[in-house]
Symmetry: C2
Subunit: 205 residues, 2 copies
DNA sequence: ACAATAAATTAACCCAGGTTAACGACAACA
DNA sequence: TGTTGTCGTTAACCTGGGTTAATTTATTGT
């Protein structure tokens, strides 16, 4: 079980894997439930068995911006919270009914310290995390909200289909109202492009 | 020498350290020089001996947005370029005259595979990288341009002092013109706050 | 010291996203 | 069946950043 969840990282059997089974704590969440809140100490790594989790930064002025989504089969954690004494800067909520496996980071560190293979798996996990964050950073820096929306819908179609527009807006980093306008614009542009493709000229205006 | 550069990660002596010295390639750059360009294969890790490097995303419409700065004593790499066959999505330039040590990632992987301590050092490096990216992501998602500017100037005063406003703007993710307006606003607000602090009331308007 | 180039500032105009509010669609629930 | 509440959509207005261009202020080079 813990093994299945490691699939993203490593296909071989790993030493002392049973230690995971004893350390893992299963949690069932209903849609909207909070997994953990910002400012808490949460030195844990989570594996999503099924469902979906959203990680959100809540600002003082009452806004909430979604940092990332994590689906079944994926793992996640708050890096800040993994540091000794560190605290999460974001909260996590279940997007729909969700089951997660919670594993104290300490256990992974111990495994890593006694088995080089585990150290490697851990390193690989951070590599993947950094990779994703690098991508997100690039999107936030180089794309307009509209471009971010189009790419999100295209690249993560299945995921987007399970979300409310509200959450999509929050991830795109735009208000729900703005997302509506963007959707309309994209829709109109869509028919525009259709016209051009179809007749070879633009029939709008 | 390679040892000094690892200071950020590990204080103890590491096995086979001499392999670094033979694999490291020193590069001297003048202000403005390009270290490597986007779309290149660059499976290397860089340590900055002195000077400063900026990592920049160059968009198709001719814009350039600075992803991050790296100063002396720090290391950096393009995670995408470290993946087998991967390519950088950003370019790097020297902000001022700069000396870097270039190390093939392959060497680090080999060291990591033969020595658990090295595996750990590598893991720690990715931890730190993810940590920084998490912070940057939070700033981009939750702060306004003005807030990003104020925080940048406050948190990284020394670094900011060595940059042109142009580069600061590019990091804040606004145009140089917008940065000017922001600076003026902040300046005015500064005197405003001064008034309030000093006399207990607001003398503007 | 002066010319040439780049960087920073300011003004004017445009536009996309933020904000508030109103309305219709839909689901959950008594 | 009606009520309540949430979600998506639209309209109206406001604001701050983008854009262009002109001007002033550093920097550089000779």
């Amino acid at each position: 079980m813990a093994k299945r969840v490691l699939g993203e990282l490593c296909s071989e059997a790993l030493p002392d894997e049973h230690r995971l089974d004893t350390a893992v704590h299963i949690k069932h969440l209903q849609a909207g439930d909070c997994l953990f809140s910002a400012e808490e100490q949460h030195p844990n790594v989570y594996f999503i068995r099924n469902g979906m989790i959203k990680m959100v930064y809540e600002t003082m002025d009452g806004n909430a911006w979604i940092k990332a989504f994590s689906e079944e089969g994926k793992f996640f954690a708050s890096l800040m919270a993994l540091e000794p004494g560190g605290k999460t800067s974001f909260s996590t909520y279940a997007v729909c009914d969700t089951t997660v496996e919670q594993l104290p980071y300490k256990v992974l560190i111990e495994l890593a310290n006694s088995h080089p293979v585990w150290q490697k798996v851990l390193r690989r996990a951070f590599e993947i995390y950094g990779f994703k964050k690098e991508t997100r950073e690039k999107e936030l820096l180089t794309l307009s909200p509209e471009e971010r929306y189009v790419r999100f819908i295209k690249d993560r179609e299945e995921l987007a289909g399970r979300l409310t527009d509200r959450d999509i807006a929050s991830y795109i980093r735009v208000t729900p109202v703005a997302l509506c306008r963007i959707k309309r614009r994209v829709r109109d542009m869509g028919t525009l492009i259709y016209c051009i493709d179809d007749r070879g000229e633009n029939h709008e205006n």
